[in-house]
């Protein structure tokens, strides 16, 4: 198709008389998994971010290596809303198999950039269509054959840059970051981008209303994913041992440990490690190793997702019963069973809280943003060693694997808390040691580490019933006394847990409770609800067991909605269990379909619940 004809076709489309819309759209890039579009998408996000435009990037990908459809969503929001948006204003169609479907999803008035060899259906007269002659442009630039498909993705970067107004200088800088200054790929990709931009300038007439322009709203911020933030948190928390088994969406957490530990934590001229990372044979072994290391005195962790948590159940119970510090990251994905391995959910709350036989219950931290992924990354070790128990950190796929704009991660503001440990001098002074005796009345007993060079130091760790001296006991009194102490200990834990984040609104009539990755959607919904004359207070949970602030929040509101991504309203039920007298006023707003929550769903759901 000749270039003139394309331009003609485009200009024949009805031009809408509409004011320009700046820095406010959701764009979907529809590609084929494994086609190398990640570089292109990252370049776009980074460019927008560096133009000072609040942005987020979410990858909706299949459980597949190559060949299945994948969608990358980029949201630009001058107002700073970075949650997933239900509507798509701009579509970049690079996958012919989903083209029709993708077009149907496009909002009226939306824009579609598509590969010009796709057949365009005739039923969308309400959108703007821009064809991109991808093959022709790639041929002109003529990259090495092996790189052709990758470089082809740069065509849409160039066209978008021209048509939306992405600054070419920022695109170049973004590639520099992506390829860490490696000249060759930067130049090759840039030449493709520039050729595409030039073609668009000559051949496409701008008739859609979406524009990007430089702002000043990302200053000082960073773009990061939660798994990387978590790994960095662990490193600054002094992790000495991590064991893991590959699983989506948790693997990149261990990858980030492997990436950053050598540069941040080596000794003796940079070649000897102050840590050990083991890829275990399965999740049973991963948590077993972490427990062994925690028992020995390490800051030990493992990272996994739902199916891995299922395998870890027996060891989790042992950590609770034998009182061994260990940190377990659960980057949640959709269950039950294998579920949707590449889609997000908050469905492991119940399972993790009570993971283990009998009266087991666990401490849970709930990071809701990048700063908390980092902060809880180090704090989890302090809590685990202080309380001598497993500490679970519940992230999810959306937090863990997607790119989030964030205030800079903050260096730990407290020294490490290594908990109650007796050394040789302590033992000499005390003249007696009972591993499970509540000396201080807070339920936390003192421990010794293996290798402590004193005849009194040893004790026998076991999952079986034991007395204060850790000696096997089936005596009912011993069992009850120990369980009572464990309960006391978990009450004590509350004081060491991060408090909830509470934001009050003048004239608020109802309270919202949420946690984790839904935070941006909840905030956006709050803003929308104000427009509907519903004002809300908001409590974001950051830990379980619930601290007093949570109880007070529920008590002080006539009606509370718990917003979450699971079918059963698990957090709502936990809150109801905690305060049965308040149960009837705790309501549930829940959605669990694999997609991150959106304000576009929360708002009408809440309006309906409020009878509006």
């Amino acid at each position: 198709m000749a270039e003139m004809q394309i331009a003609e076709k485009v200009s024949n489309q009805k031009q809408r008389e509409q004011d320009p819309i700046y820095n406010d759209f959701s764009m979907v890039v529809a590609t084929v998994n494994g086609s190398g579009s990640q570089t292109a998408n990252m370049a776009i996000i980074r460019s927008l971010f560096r133009m000072g435009i609040p942005v987020s990037g979410k990858n909706l990908f299949p459980s597949n290596i190559q060949g299945l459809p994948t969608w990358f969503t980029i949201r630009a929001s001058s107002d700073g809303f970075t949650a997933r948006r239900d509507t798509t204003e701009i579509l970049v169609a690079m996958n012919v198999t989903t083209f029709i479907e993708d077009l149907e999803e496009l909002t009226p008035g939306g824009v579609c950039f598509y590969s010009d060899d796709f057949a365009v259906p005739g039923n969308r007269n309400d959108i703007v269509l821009y064809p991109m002659p991808i093959r022709k442009l790639v041929k002109e630039v003529n990259p090495p054959a092996a790189l052709r498909d990758y470089v082809a993705n740069m065509v849409y970067v160039g066209v978008l840059a021209q048509m939306l107004g992405i600054e070419m200088e920022e695109v170049h800088r973004a590639l520099e970051t992506h390829f860490t200054g490696n000249k060759r790929p930067i130049e090759l990709n840039m030449s493709m981008i520039e050729a595409a931009a030039l073609w668009a300038e000559k051949n496409l007439e701008k008739i859609d209303p979406y524009f990007l322009k430089r702002e000043d709203k990302t200053k000082g911020q960073i773009l990061i994913d939660g798994n990387t933030a978590a790994a960095l948190g662990a490193i600054y928390g002094g992790v000495t041992f991590a064991a893991w088994y590959p699983i989506t969406p948790a693997s990149s957490l261990a990858d980030a440990l492997e990436e950053y530990l050598p540069q941040l934590r080596c000794q003796d001229g940079g070649c000897k490690a102050t840590y050990s990372i083991i890829q275990a044979e399965d999740e049973l072994a991963a948590i077993g190793m972490a427990l062994g290391a925690g028992w020995s005195g390490a800051r030990a962790m493992t990272s996994t997702s739902g199916p891995g948590i299922a395998l870890m159940a027996e060891f989790a119970g042992l950590a609770f019963q034998a009182e061994i510090p260990v940190v377990i990251w659960d980057v949640q994905r959709m269950g039950p069973s294998t579920g949707l391995p590449t889609r997000t959910s908050q469905g492991d709350i119940f399972f993790v809280r009570f993971l283990g036989a009998g009266d087991t219950r666990h401490i849970i931290l709930l990071p809701g943003n990048m700063k908390e992924c980092f902060e809880f990354g180090w704090k989890a070790f302090d809590i685990a060693e202080r309380i001598q128990s497993a500490v679970f950190v519940l992230s999810d796929l959306d937090l863990g694997m997607n790119l989030w704009m964030s205030e800079p991660l903050e260096y730990p503001d407290q020294p490490m808390d290594r908990g109650k440990i007796l050394n040789e001098e302590d033992l000499e002074r005390l003249g007696d040691f009972a591993r499970y005796r509540d000396v201080d009345g807070d339920g936390i007993a003192y421990r010794t580490l293996p290798g402590t060079n004193h005849p009194l130091a040893a004790y026998f760790t076991r999952g079986t019933g034991h007395d204060e001296y850790a000696i096997y006991s089936e005596r009912p009194d011993d069992w009850e006394a120990n369980m009572e102490r464990l309960w006391r200990k978990h009450e004590t834990a509350k004081a060491y847990l991060p408090p909830p984040v509470i934001e009050k609104m003048d004239g608020a009539s109802i309270g919202l409770i949420a946690f984790g990755s839904t935070d941006p959607a909840v905030r956006e919904a709050q803003a929308r609800l104000v427009g509907e004359n519903i004002r809300t207070d908001y409590l974001r949970l950051t830990s379980i067991p619930f601290r007093d602030e949570v109880i007070d929040f529920v008590r002080s509101h006539e009606k509370v909605y718990v917003i979450e991504m699971n079918h059963d309203g698990q957090m709502r039920q936990l809150l109801q269990l905690e305060m049965p007298d308040q149960a009837v006023k705790i309501h549930s707003i829940r959605k669990n379909n694999g997609l991150p929550l959106s304000a576009g769903w929360i708002t009408p759901a809440l309006l309906e619940a409020e009878g509006g």
Partner: protein, 350 residues
């Protein structure tokens, strides 16, 4: 012709080189059945550690679940112990030892704990070559749950409750060989001297040392025809050599003709002296080791001794390139990178 060794530990001396008495290596009273092979092995562990002058505080005793796994409570109370989960002792050991490379780990497992529920972790432990002594107290039966077949039970063996076992047994030593283990030994609880010498050697080996010790269950599997019984063991044991362990600090006076024995120097400088018995046997030949297991199985005899040794494989802490200080002793300044380093990292996310 005997090998004569002057050993400072033997004889009238009432303390070892650490100044400790045999009492300092004692555990709590056993709750296993009277006559259980496991008790005999526990005694030899104590004797080996005492005679090797190993400080009990440096030892960790680790186990899974089962009769065998209870036994760490019955030796060396001055050592930290960890009676963990069924079949999962290797993972606990891996974490515990990696973060404190000065610990000496003695793992006690059983045939159910190792060859059934724990076969996966067992193989991967050997693959990683974690320094530890891994004892399998092998009796072919689940004792604690009152007499079910284990994976090492003889084919066509008959048990009171269950009847006849239709399956071929797992050979722990063969599995260890296939998994590239660098120290594979077999012994018999009814041969305490050999058990002790092999444990001493295993304690000096820098890597995973597997000892498959036939340890009769007097309650559920001690019928004379069972290959895990005292009677059968006594009748059919054929030591492949006479084993004597000589600590590094002992003067050795050897008295045998060339060709009649082999000396194996271990990682800590001690020596294992293997005196030739019926026929030549080279424990550094992996193929010969596999042949030996095949042949003795076919002949229905219990070949005991050091079946295979390979000192050249790096132990896990070396593969991991760890600092010399145990990770558990590193301080905050070693573990928490500087504020400046964080700023630098953050710059890459802008």
């Amino acid at each position: 012709m005997a090998i004569r060794v002057e050993n400072k530990q033997s004889g009238p001396s009432r303390t070892n080189l650490m100044g400790l008495t045999r009492n300092d290596y004692k555990g709590r009273p056993t709750t296993l059945c009277q006559g259980c092979g496991h008790n005999s092995i526990a005694s030899q562990i104590m004797a080996a550690c005492y005679e090797n002058s190993i400080p009990p505080e440096k030892v960790i005793k680790i186990s899974g679940i089962g009769c065998s796994s209870k036994s760490p409570a019955y030796f060396m109370s001055r050592s930290h112990g960890f009676n963990s989960l069924h079949g999962r002792m290797p993972s606990i050991a891996t974490g515990a030892v990696l973060v404190n490379r000065e610990l000496i780990a003695i793992g006690v497992s059983g045939d159910g704990d190792t060859a059934s529920i724990g076969i996966g972790q067992f193989i991967h432990l050997l693959r990683r070559n974690l320094p530890m002594v891994y004892i399998v107290e092998n009796n072919g039966v689940y004792g604690l749950t009152k007499g079910q077949f284990s994976a090492t039970a003889d084919k066509v063996q008959v048990l009171k409750k269950i009847g006849e076992n239709p399956f071929f047994p797992v050979d722990v030593c063969m599995e260890a060989l296939i998994a590239n283990c660098g120290f594979v030994a077999r012994s018999f609880a009814g041969d305490p001297k050999q058990v002790k010498e092999l444990i001493k050697a295993a304690l000096s080996f820098n890597g995973t040392a597997v000892l498959d010790i036939i340890s009769p269950c007097v309650t559920f599997n001690n019928r004379d025809e069972s290959t895990k019984s005292y009677a059968w063991g006594k009748e059919h044991e054929i030591p492949i050599h006479d084993v004597t362990f000589v600590p590094r600090y002992d003067e050795i006076a050897v008295d045998y003709e060339p060709g009649e024995g082999t000396e194996v120097e271990l990682h800590d400088g001690s020596t294992l002296m293997l005196k030739k018995l019926e026929q030549d046997y080279d424990p550094t030949d992996r193929k010969a080791a596999i042949m030996l297991l095949e042949e003795t199985r076919a002949r229905q005899v219990l070949a005991t001794g050091l079946i295979y040794i390979n000192k050249d494989q790096p132990p896990l802490q070396e593969v991991e390139e760890l600092v010399d200080t145990p990770l558990t002793r590193l301080r905050e300044e070693d573990l928490r990178p500087s504020p400046e380093s964080l700023l630098e990292v953050l710059e890459s996310f802008r």
